[in-house]
Each structure stands twice: as C-alpha cells, then as structure tokens.
C-alpha cells in the first residue's frame, strides 16, 4: 500500500509540474481572438487590433477600462467629437485583471490618461477570460492567491494550452470578428426598456431590492431596510457580515475580492511607473436616477477615500426609458447624454478639455455617421 501511495503521489507531482509548464505557454493574439470571436467577448479583437496595429491612436488619448457598463456607457466617438480624444476599451463582465492585462500591453504607448470604472461593490472571483490572457506566474504576480479560484483557473488554462498546441490555423474567425467593429470601441444598444417597464411597480420593487443590495455599508454591516424593520435573524446576519468584513482575508478564499483589489493597485502602479494619470469614473445604474425615499445611498456617494472618483452630482436627467435597456446599461442615447454631462462637469477640467484639445481631437476624427444610423450600426452583441 505504501508503494502504491508513493507511486501515485509521485505521478501527481509530475503531472502538476508538467501542467504548470504547459500553462506558462503564452498564447498568440490570433488564438486569443479565435477563442473570443463568437462570444460576448469579441471586443477583445478590437482592443488588440488598436494596440498592435494602430498605436498612434492611443498616444495622447484617454482610455476607458471596465465592464459592459463602460462598453455601453462611454461614447468615445462623441467624446472625441467634443474635444476629448478617447477610446473605449471596455470588455463585457470585465474583471480588474482584464483591465490590468490591456494596460500592461499598452503602457508604452503613452496614453494621455486612463480611466477605470468605479463599482459600488467589490469585484469577486475571476473573469472568464483570465485563463486565456494570463499565465499562472503572471496572475500570481499580479496579486492572485493560490486559492480554489486559482485551481479552477489552472484547469481552464491547461485545457486552453493543449488546444493551443494542437490547433490548426483558422482565419475565418478573425474575418468574422473584424467585420463587427467600428473605429471606436463603444458597443451600445438602441433597444430601450419601454415606458411600461420603466414605470411599473415591479420595476420599482426591483430597483429598491437592487439598491438595498448595494447599499451595504461595510462600516455598518447592515442593510438600511434591516435597520428600519429588523427581524429576529437580523442580529445574527449583522454579526456574520461583521465577521466576514473583519476577516476578509480568510473569506477571500471564497470570494477572491482581495486579489481583485490587488489587481487594481497593480494597474495603478503601472500608471504611476509610466507617468500616466489615472482616475476612476462612476457610471450610473438605473437606481441612481431615483431618490428612493428612506435610502441614503440611492445614488453613488464618494467615500472620503474615493476622492479620485469622478462622479456626476445629479443623475436625475437619466430618469427616462430612452436611456436604458436594462437596470444597469445605458442605451446609445444614454451614453450620449452621459458624454454631454461629463464634458460639462469636472471631468472636462480634469482632462484639460480646451480649444487646443478640441482641434487635436478633430484632427483624428473620421466623419461620424448620424446618431440614428449609428445606433443601428453599433448595435453589437452585449
């Protein structure tokens, strides 16, 4: 039995070592694009294309990173038109490590500034693209701990590595993907939620629940509604949350939030090392447009430590169904309104939006189609 156990253990160690070596193989951009071509992440092609083939566009531009909130909400073509040369690098369901990946790839291209999406809640887990973009050593280097998330990542990375080594060339995927993209990165929808949905009681309830969920203040540990209407389990729930917050590193094995925070810091360090100004931008969600009675945090309020977050003071202008296609994503019109508001706010001052900038921006601008037409052309899969 001892001999059996020692042989099996030796085999397991060898297997782990060989797997790690395979996982360290860097994938080509062609493979990355091929894997993301017909998925929600086909925007990766656009991002890589601009980095590899149009680096001149990045120099002197403001780059926006983040999730589908950025992908849909930041109209870089309009911002450029208004004098702030911008490009939207958003990727659906983005994790902070995805921002870190692209930032790493373009750090030498001298962008004017980098703007990250500020979320209300902490990011957890790992993005689905992470096994495709990161080797194990790079992910650990970026701040990931050897947790269950990392083990799951290794399995997926190994699968991709074997596929990469045994693949045959496939240019069709690249051609299909290339057709979907415009000169700018925004990929918003013209589909609106509809007035009935927008004003219904069910929507109001969902907004209330959504806002309750993200109104959790880690210093208080309890939802606002719980404080107003406590139930007999409420003290227990509050204590468990306090435990989770106080020992977040332990629970981090179950959430990976700590690693996600480290990815943000790593991205900030890259910016500092390359003298790239960086900040965070808060993009509203539907619940921010309404002041729900009794809730203090019905729209984002920057905490004292968040003084680098750019946030509009009033989101009430967005309170119309034409600006939303679900609870959190802006339509093309919504993105256009956000661009207008940003240009008139501190955002413009922060990025020194003046006449010279406008002229420089216009020099790079290609003729933009009219608003209605562009809604159809840029109606790309979310």
């Amino acid at each position: 039995m001892k001999r059996f156990i020692s042989r099996v253990s030796l085999f397991a160690i060898l297997l782990f070592s060989v797997s790690l070596v395979l996982c360290e193989i860097e994938f080509s951009d062609e493979f990355i694009v091929k894997k993301t071509a017909n998925t929600s992440y086909h925007k990766v092609l656009w991002n890589l294309d601009i980095i590899n083939n149009h680096p001149e566009k990045i120099e002197g531009s403001v780059l926006f990173f983040g999730s589908s909130l950025v992908l849909n909400g930041i109209n870089d073509s309009l911002l450029t038109q208004k004098g702030l040369k911008s490009y939207n690098f958003g990727i659906n369901h983005s994790g902070n490590e995805i921002n870190l990946y692209f930032l790493n790839r373009l750090q030498h291209l001298k962008p004017k500034a980098v703007v990250f999406l500020k979320r209300k809640t902490k990011r957890e887990g790992l993005h689905k693209l992470t096994p495709l973009l990161f080797t194990p050593s790079k992910l650990l280097d970026a701040g990931q701990k050897p947790s269950l998330f990392f083990i799951q990542f290794l399995f997926k990375r190994l699968k991709l590595a074997v596929e990469f080594l045994t693949q045959f060339s496939d240019t069709e995927a690249l051609q299909i993907s290339a057709k979907k993209h415009t000169d700018f990165g925004i990929m918003s929808s013209d589909k609106e939620v509809g007035s009935d949905f927008f004003h219904s009681e069910a929507t109001a309830q969902k907004i209330k629940q959504f806002d309750e969920l993200i109104s959790l203040n880690s210093n208080q540990y309890s939802f606002l509604a719980e404080k107003e209407h406590p139930q007999f389990l409420t003290p227990l729930k509050v204590k468990l949350r306090k435990l989770r917050v106080d020992y977040w590193e332990f629970f981090d094995l179950a959430t990976n939030s700590g690693a996600q925070e480290k990815f943000i810091r790593a991205a900030q360090q890259i910016c500092e090392h390359n003298n790239i100004p960086h900040s965070k931008l808060y993009i509203p969600v539907l619940s921010d447009t309404r002041k729900v009675k009794g809730y203090q945090r019905s729209y984002f309020q920057a905490a004292p430590t968040d003084n680098e977050v750019i946030c509009l003071s009033d989101f009430s202008k967005f309170d119309h169904p034409q600006y939303w296609w679900d609870f959190s994503h802006l339509t093309y019109k919504g993105a256009a309104l956000l661009a207008e508001e940003l240009v008139q706010s501190d955002f413009a001052v922060k990025f020194d939006l003046n006449q010279q900038s406008k002229e420089e921006a216009l020099a790079f601008r290609k003729p933009l189609p009219k608003l209605k037409n562009q809604e159809k052309e840029s109606n790309i899969n979310r």
Partner: protein, 478 residues
Amino acid sequence: MLFNSMDFAVFLPLVFAIYWGLFQSRLKLQNLFLVAASYFFYGWWDVRFLSLIVASSLIDYAIGIGLSSTDSTFKRKALLFASIGVNLGLLGVFKYFDFFSTSFADAYQLFGHAIDPLRLNLVLPIGISFYTFQTLSYSIDVYKKNLEPCKDIVAFLGFVSFFPQLVAGPIERATNLLPQFYQSRSFNYSKAIDGLKQILWGLFKKIVIADNCALFVNDVFSNNEALAGSTLLLGAIFFAFQIYGDFSGYSDIAIGTSRLFGFQLNKNFAFPYFSRDMAEFWRRWHISLSTWFRDYLYIPLGGSRGSLWFKIRNTAIIFLVSGFWHGANWTFIIWGLLNALYFLPLLLRKRNRANLDDVAQGRLFPKFEELLKIMGTFGLTVIAWVFFRAESVSHAIAYLDGICSFSIFYFPENVPLNLILFLIVFIALEWLGRSNEYAIQRMKINTALPMRWAVYLGITICIFSNINNSQDFIYFQF
C-alpha cells in the same frame, strides 16, 4: 454520480482509503462498507430509486433461498417465474409501458379510430436494465443448480449493487462476481496499479474521444438536412467512435475501479472495430450482454440446432430483443434487425466462427485482405449505428438518404481537425494493444518507466484539458 465528475473524484479515493485503511482483510466489514458505499453512490442520482433496487435484491435473495429449500419441480419453476416476472415486470413498467401504449394507439388509428394512449410517464431508474438482468442471471443459475444460493444477505446485496458496474455494466454473472464476496480481499499493488491504468484509459476514451465526437455528432444529426453527404458520413463514423468510447470507456472505468477493491470483473469489449466479420464483432461488442442473451435466451430456444427457419428465428429473436433492450423506440428494434440481417448469412454459411483469434496476431500490420474485411465490417456497423443514434426511423432514413447522394463527394464541413488527430492516436494505441485487456495494459516501449510515464502523463493531460466538454454516458439511458 458520473465517473467523470468531481463528485466521483472525491468519492472514490475516500471509499478506497476507508476500505483498505480500516477494513483490510476483514471480509464482513468490507462487504458491509461496499454495500453502504454502493447505495450512497446509487442514491446520489435519485434517492427514490434506492427502494427499488433494494426490493428487487431482497426478492431475488428470498427466491434463491426458496429454490434451495425445495426439490419440487413445480415449486422451483414457480419461484423462477416469480423472479422473471418481478424483474422483467419492473423493466416493462418503467421502460416499455409508454412505448407499447403509444404504439397500440398508433396501430388502432390505422382502423380509423383515435384513442388517447395511457402513459405512466415514469422516470427510468438508472441502471435498471443492468441490475435486473444481473439478478435474473442469479435466479436462473440457482434454478439450474449451476450456483449455490447465497445465504449471506450482505454479500448478495453487494453483488447486486456493486457500484463500479451498477449503472451501466458489465452485466456480471453471479458465478463470477458473487464468490468474490465470500473471499477475503487483501491489497495487491499490481492489481491496484493495473486498475488505475484501466481507469485512466477509460476516462481517455470517454472524455477525449467520446465527448469530443459527441459535439460534432450532435450538430450533424440535428442539422442533417442542410449538410453534405460527406459531412453526414463523417458524423456517422464519429458516432461509431462516440458510442464505443463512451460505453467501453465506462466499462474500463468500472473494471479498473473494481480492481482497486480487489475484484475481477469480466471483459466487456475486445476491440470490436478490428473485427473481420459481424459474428466476430458480436463476440467483441458488449460481451456481457451478448453472452447473457446467448446463455439465457438463445440456447434455451434451441440455439443454432434444428432447421434453417429455426436458426433464422432464434437469431432474429436474439437481435430483436437486444435492440429492444437498448430502448423503447423503433429505431433500436430496426438496429437490432439490421444486425440480424448482417449475422444471418454468416450463420447459415457456417462462417460465424471463422475468426476466433486476434486480427494480425503477431504482426504489426494487417494483410490487405484483413484490412478490407475490417473496413467492410466497420462500414456495416456505421450504417446500423445511424438507426441507433437517430431520433426516429424517418430521421435515420433521411440521414442515410443524405449520405447516399452526390454530395458525398464534397469536402466535409466544419471538420474538427484536432479531434481527427486524437482519433488517429487513439486507433493506433488500440491497434498496438489489441492483444491486451485494454490498449495500454502492457505497452511495449523500449525505454521502460520514463516513456510509459510520459504516455500516462500525456493521456492525463488530455483528459484534464477536455473535461469541460462532459456529456452523459450514452448507456445510462438504458
């Protein structure tokens, strides 16, 4: 739980550690623990069906005791028929009732009257086709006095519910498996390593070959009208490998797992796609089922003795029942009858035992004539497999019609080239290991340990890298 799941990956080492760590050479405790583990394994699927397997086991155990306590022919026959009635009755109710009811209603409609068929809509208990046949074989063997009835209830429950082979075979004979529950088992290093290797090979066949073929096959069979004949042909060929990889892979995992616990199960597949004729194919494919039908149905019916029509009848019955065993659908019946049509010429010309040895024995390559025979036999099985895979008879006919068109000369579409690479490697390994119980059992490699371990590592990595394409085992539906 599936063999290729995380649940089983946790379950097996745990059971293995407790079995050998706590109960080494303690027979009764080993048996008791195996029964508990097996019921836990079965109950993981659906705890409701535990009562069914327990009840079926207890009934046959009691019948076995009853058969040993009387010499009256009438009483012994009555007990035997009771066992047959209970086991086939269970099968009939859960598996075939709705089929017969619907078929009756369809037939009645031909007379111009429409009736609403009575449907029970019962969920098919997993493994019912396997364990009912297993307990039936016990009752019949005890009746024929080929086997002493089991007096140890725990051993009997263990024989029926033994988890490695419970849900998809091999269908074990009581004469082989039951006595192993009476003998004390000690850990054997060679058997355990052999078992692990067989599990590894089984997982490779299932996860790398079968599940990857399934992705292509599912696409092709669901869009057959829009695809070229060449693509349809490739789809049918891939299905042949899918079902072989799936079923023989499961059998390998079952046999390998049994070895880990000191049990020896019967071989269920012997490289059937290297067969030179259909008779050889049926000696090598799902051996436990075909021998079960031979011993408990074909021979009692008279076998191949008697007149020409007698032989044809018996052969047709066997293949018909075999098809029917696979499922309550006309496609399985036609699949069975097709195989009967393939087999009959060999039987009638007395050439059904022409190829009893391994093909190209002692040689690396087959002769040209042998190669032609292998490809011809494979081609016949592929045609029959179309009926097995299709959703209906009309679907199968449309599929075959699509193959037999001018578009068979077109280049196939969306061919997964990396899968073809895996298949080439797989066929090569199977060919090189065809004289073994499973392909990688005794690899003849010049450099001993390092090269063998490199192959095992490569196989394991391939398994891990394909694990996300997981599909259900095909034979679980039976």
